[in-house]
Amino acid sequence: MESMNGLIYALASLGAFALCAGIVLAIAQKIFHIEGDPMIDNVDALLPQTQCGQCGYPGCKPYATAVAGGEAEVNHCVPGGERTMLQIADLMGVEPKELEQEASAPMLAFVREDECIGCTLCIKACPVDAIIGAPKQYHTIIADHCTGCTLCVEPCPVDCIDMLVKPELIEHWAWPLPDTKRSQLGHERREQHAGHA
């Protein structure tokens, strides 16, 4: 009989605790309610914002929405490379996946102005408004704004847009990892981990 009592007390106290916790959680949900899906913005913040569409979505935000919604894999962003993939995987709490395509060196679009016919097609194609010019006038690409997405190359009817490798500035040069076996070993392991997982 005594053991029966103990059981009832235990059940009752646990039930009461669960009820209290439930109420607290319900209140907390009301107080700390967040509009929209914060995950989309969080993923979007990790993307390089080239708006290049190489992921198969029309821009960075749509891809972020797809990733946050679980519809897209984390490894589709080409310009972001491995770092971005790892960051997104970490944020989403999923396993990293191998990149489908190696990121190329940062590029820059350049209009050969003497050939430009001023059709404005590239201006309309540029996702970040990095091309200026008016109809029937030469167009110019603002190098500091160009994300190297290549979307302007195809619409050009006279093929006067070149993609150039972005020049490396001595001020932006960064030290690589030391050239010792240990540091290389650590780096290889990280890459392996990212690749196989």
């Binding site: 993307l47 200026i132 010019g133 960064a174 030290w175 010792t180």
Partner: protein, 528 residues
């Protein structure tokens, strides 16, 4: 002495303040007794466009131009910048990229001057002998015009520090004659030979910042310099508030923040400048150059360079024109064969190891060293595992924990590395020097710092791109909405007033026109 007891003793006032950590090095001051010699003028001088910390300069000359010594040939393009001057008279022969002392091995656009041998000076700058009655802002402009940058090696534009700010009055001017790097003796020889000129420079600085107290800091391995400075100080009028402090030799005592703490017992708060705690610190070489700029009206065209190293037959202190190729200096001191020799620009603790000796002397060249492989001690090629001995933490003058930081950098845990104050590392190299496992700690920190700055830059760019992209999307949306509205209006009123149609059309066309003028400001390149 154990660091904690020392701190305690300092708190109780039993002991003078000294910075934490630090190490004792073999100083190898081979050229300490060698008087400063003039190195002459090289047939071709190579002047890189950027020789300071900050924004690069742009060239003001064309190929074929004749220039005079001291004439400005490249102008500064921003606040944190100082111009570059021709260091002898001659003709501009080319302007192209040339190797500089940079770890990347990348070049820098440089101006090549072919010396005409006359060495005619540009006399356009008036000497200011009566500087005590001249407004400090005029003197400050003089310091900027003359291209002065910290000659201790950091090459921070000098004029920026020489400012009177009512919120942060400078109480103490510190003259840094520590020179704690092994081998280097430029400041040492300058103090021995030109003490009076240095004190003139110091008096100008004190006048400029409105301070009456000054400290001249010298390490106790340079007693002759201290004596020479003391003698000059006794003979100089109007410098009663200045005294000499002889400090026990310890590396990195010459680092600005560490020196300020040792002398004043106050720390420069993270992210602030010494002026925020009322202190100004200047190197003796820079101070002498400031004196020449003000009293003689001379721009910065030469500097003292220690040429030394265990693989060099004749170590010396040379007065060298900026732009002189260092290979010719090595040849002058009897070294022509560079096989099995490592050339270092600056001191062995913080300088850059060069791939080849074909770079010019620049404003930051405090020394050039030819070291044998043994002297370099095969440092940092075989990295052993960290055994957590803690010698690096003991040696760190910024009280960091280098082994943990290096682990974080190696494994790309950069956010955590920042949390462990990676950016407070002054890269003095004390930790790598003492590490029994030969871990290139400073290299890891530089890697970490580089990756963090890279990520920051990318983030700023991505954020700007995102805003432009969003701006474009809303504009397109608005245009589409307007088009739709117009269509529905057209459909509703089948027989509109004839005059109304062109007006809407015109409005629409201006609207579409705006597509070609995105909300970025038009640039001059736009052809009209």
């Amino acid at each position: 002495m154990p660091a904690m007891l020392r701190t305690l003793a300092q708190k109780l006032g039993l002991m003078a303040h000294t910075f934490p950590g630090g190490i004792h090095l073999d100083m190898h001051k081979l050229s300490a007794a060698a008087p400063i010699e003039d190195a002459g003028i090289s047939p071709v001088l190579i002047l890189p466009m950027k020789q300071h910390i900050g924004v690069p300069c742009t060239s003001m000359v064309k190929i074929g131009d004749k220039v005079l010594r001291g004439q400005k040939i490249a102008k500064s393009e921003g606040y944190l910048s100082v111009p570059v001057h021709a260091s002898t008279s001659g003709r501009i022969v080319k302007i192209e990229e040339h190797a500089i002392a940079h770890p990347s091995g990348m070049g820098m656009p440089s101006i090549f001057i072919e010396a005409d041998g006359d060495d005619n000076r540009d006399e356009s700058l008036e000497p200011i002998t009566d500087w005590r009655n001249v407004d400090p802002t005029i003197l400050r402009e003089r310091a900027r015009m003359c291209g002065l940058a910290g000659l201790g090696g950091a090459v921070f534009p000098t004029f920026i520090k020489l400012v009177q700010d009512r919120r942060f009055p400078i109480e103490t001017v510190i003259l840094n004659g520590i020179e704690c790097e092994p081998y280097l003796t430029t400041d040492h020889r300058l103090m021995v030979e030109q003490a009076s000129e240095i004190l003139d420079g110091m008096a100008i600085i004190m006048h400029m910042v409105g301070s009456s107290a000054g400290i001249i800091a010298i390490e106790d391995n340079k007693t002759d310099a201290a004596e020479s400075m003391q003698e000059a100080l006794t003979n100089k009028d109007g410098m009663d508030g200045v005294h000499i402090e002889v400090l026990p030799t310890r590396y990195p005592q010459g680092s600005e923040k560490q020196l300020i703490y040792t002398l004043t017992g106050r720390e420069v708060p993270a992210g602030k400048l010494p002026m925020h705690i009322g202190v100004l610190c200047q190197n003796v070489g820079t101070t002498k150059a400031l004196r020449d700029a003000v009293i003689l009206g001379q721009t910065l065209t030469e500097r003292i360079v220690t040429i030394s190293g265990d693989a060099l037959p004749r170590p010396a202190n040379l007065n060298v024109r900026i732009g002189t190729p260092i290979r010719s200096l090595f040849a002058r001191q009897g070294l022509e064969d560079f096989s099995n020799i490592q050339v270092v620009h600056g001191g062995p603790m913080m300088g850059e190891r060069l791939r080849h000796p074909d770079i010019p002397v620049v404003k930051s060249t405090s020394g050039i060293l030819a070291l044998s492989q043994q002297a370099i001690n095969a440092a940092h090629t075989v990295e052993n595992p960290c055994i957590r001995c803690g010698h690096c933490s003991e040696a760190c003058p910024a009280s960091l924990v280098p082994n943990l930081l290096a682990d974080l950098c190696r494994s790309d845990q950069l956010e955590k590395a920042e949390d462990y104050q990676l950016f407070d590392c002054i890269e003095c190299g004390a930790c790598s020097y003492v590490c029994p496992s030969n871990i290139p700690l400073v290299h890891y920190f530089r890697y970490g710092k580089g990756q963090i700055s890279l990520a920051r830059r990318e983030q700023v760019f991505a954020e700007a791109s995102r805003q432009r992209s969003e701006g474009r999307d809303t504009r397109i949306e608005r245009e589409n909405a307007e088009k739709a509205a117009r269509r529905s209006r057209v459909r509703k009123t089948h027989a509109p007033k004839p005059a109304a149609e062109p007006t809407t059309e015109a409005a629409a066309s201006t609207d579409t026109g705006s597509t070609t003028h995105p909300d970025t400001k038009p640039t001059p390149e736009e052809k009209s």
